[in-house]
């Protein structure tokens, strides 16, 4: 063997140097068992013999050994010298390419899933309305139909119901403000939005489930639409009774306005159901939930009539309560006196 410094590929004390290179003293700091870095001694590289075949053999052997060692030390292969890309470079480039490909595939899959689920175009057909149509449907929601033996048409539209729910939220906010409702858990806005949307979505789902049990012919969107337009009556009632505080006035509105919109919804549902028991179940549930919701909205966020509060507390009212009644004092006083005057003249 020539007296050149050769090096042994492979683990120190490990597997034999199965390459054509002669075994010699270790001059390369071969990676120890699971430790150390794969450092290549550059000076010794140049000392290899001129035979390229030996070089290739050594290269392959080195790569194989490295792959086995890389399982123990992850990432040590990344600290390569940029100069000699032949051996480490090959493995590094391969790794980089694979990682790059996986990134591309992952990105493509993610963007496809996103464009499928976040596509708002699924909802587009439900918003395809004209203002005239919306106005017509709002007025129709207060008129009960007479023909219940023939399935009535329900427009599966979501614009009107959504706007009505938001209007109800705004009216509730107004009511909560003027009644000085104290919300201990949560916020005013959160409570209002939660109540209205919870009612619309929750009761719609529940009624849809009941309709499925009772074999009624109605889809989910139609149910949402029907219940949403039924909130028009609630909006009117609450708008009036949050500002004019008479219990009797509220009960009249509750019966008349709430009753009309309930009758309409009930009639439409009845026309789409077959069988007496099923009709009774569906209509009873819907009527009860609808009317009770209006009752709840009025009494949960109801302003105590001013006269009662004044007589109870008298002159000992704490100052901050007076300040907070700034707005209702003016507007409610005016409205109440007007309503009283009208009631007296009737």
């Amino acid at each position: 063997a020539a007296s050149r410094t050769t090096y042994r590929w492979g683990r120190a004390g490990g597997g034999g140097a199965a390459g054509p290179g002669p075994a010699g003293a270790d001059t390369v700091s071969a990676p120890a068992q699971g430790g150390g870095s794969a450092v290549i001694d550059m000076e010794n590289m140049d000392d290899t013999s001129g035979s390229s075949f030996e070089d290739m053999g050594e290269m392959h052997q080195r790569m194989k050994e490295e792959e086995e060692e890389a399982e123990g030390e992850a990432g040590a292969g990344e600290e390569e010298d940029g100069e000699f890309l032949g051996m480490k470079g090959l493995r590094g480039q391969l790794g980089r390419q694979v990682a790059d490909q996986m990134w591309q595939v992952g990105k493509r899959q993610a963007s496809r899933a996103f464009s499928l689920y976040a596509n708002i175009d699924i909802l587009r057909p439900y918003f395809d309305v004209e203002p005239v149509q919306v106005r017509a449907r709002l007025l129709e929601s207060m008129i009960p139909v007479k023909m219940i033996n023939f399935p009535q048409k329900i427009a599966g539209e979501l614009y009107g119901p959504l706007m009505l729910v938001f209007t109800l939220v705004a009216i509730l906010l107004h009511g909560m403000k003027t009644s000085d409702t104290i919300i201990r858990e949560g916020t005013l806005m959160g409570t209002a939005i939660g109540t209205c949307f919870g009612y619309w979505l929750g009761v719609s789902s529940f009624m849809y489930f009941l309709a499925y049990l009772c074999n009624a012919q109605i889809t989910m969107v139609q149910m949402l639409s029907l219940l949403g337009y039924g909130l028009f009556g609630h909006c009117i009632t609450l708008l009036v009774t949050y500002n004019i505080h008479f219990h009797s006035l509220f009960y009249i509105f509750w019966l008349v306005v709430g009753g009309l919109s309930t009758l309409r919804m009930v009639a439409v549902l009845v026309s789409r159901t077959v069988g007496h028991t099923q009709r009774l179940i569906l209509c009873g549930t819907l009527a009860a939930l609808h009317m009770l919701f209006l009752l709840y909205l009025h009494f949960a966020y109801h302003k105590v009539v001013e006269g009662i509060l004044d007589t109870l507390e008298g002159p000992n009212m704490p100052p901050f309560q007076r300040v907070a009644r700034d707005i209702p004092v003016v507007s409610n006083a005016v409205l109440n006196t007007t309503a009283k005057a009208i009631a007296l003249t009737l």
Binding site: I120, R124, E130, F166, A170, L173, I182, R184, A324, I327
Partner: protein, 217 residues
């Protein structure tokens, strides 16, 4: 390449042209060179853009500057200012009627997102962030109204101050709605403008209501 075997250039057509590759224009350099400019230039450029949009909101003409290069700096500043001024103030749990900072923030951004989605679903041609930009900038008159209300309330509560505040907030609410309608309604088909204007009306109505019913503790 069998198909190319019979391609021949006719002798009659002279081949002419320039082989030299044109030197790349300076535009890539200009884009990168903003890294080297002083920080003051960068900030002033952005501030000027934001200021120009404020002027557009104050005098709503049908210009496309607000839409073309949208930014969300103005809406953020306005939203934070409004939320700070609307804070309930007292940590007294007995009187929890005032909106907190997070509540106002969420209302403004959530409302703007809902209006944008609605206008897109109704067939609007405006993009998501452009719409957010316009709605945010049009909150400016209401922020001014909030400032005025706070000043008026410093002078004391009462019927007169309530009437002043009502007038100011009402005027600013109308201004906000008209300004944002001027920008947003153009992107809708003409017979559906009312469907887009109503949510905007409701949105600014809720904000105006919060401003009007605000009483410092």
């Amino acid at each position: 390449f069998p198909g190319l075997a019979d391609v021949s250039i006719s002798q009659d057509i002279p081949v002419e042209g320039e082989i030299t590759v044109p030197v790349g224009s300076n535009s890539p350099d200009e884009d990168y060179s903003t890294l080297d400019e002083p920080v003051k230039d960068t900030i002033m450029r952005d501030l000027k853009a934001v200021g120009k949009k404020f002027v557009h909101v104050m005098y709503p003409r049908k210009s496309s500057a607000l839409l073309r290069d949208w930014d969300l700096w103005g809406p953020l500043v306005l939203c934070v200012a409004l939320a700070l001024m609307l804070q309930g103030g007292s940590a007294d749990s007995k009187d929890d009627g005032g909106p907190q900072f997070a509540e106002v923030f969420v209302i403004i951004w959530f409302g703007a997102v809902v209006i944008t989605l609605n206008s897109k679903l109704l067939g609007g041609t405006i993009s998501f962030f452009q719409s957010l930009c316009v709605l945010g900038y049009c909150v400016m008159p209401l922020t001014v109204a909030m400032l005025v209300c706070r000043l008026v309330l410093l002078a004391g509560g009462g019927t007169v101050s309530f009437i002043i505040r009502l007038i100011v907030v009402g005027a600013m609410f109308a201004w906000s709605t008209l300004a944002s309608t001027a920008f947003l309604a153009d992107s809708q088909p003409p017979n559906r403008k009312a469907l887009v204007v109503y949510p905007i009306f409701l949105f600014y109505f809720v904000i105006s209501w919060m401003i009007l019913t605000f009483t410092p503790q």
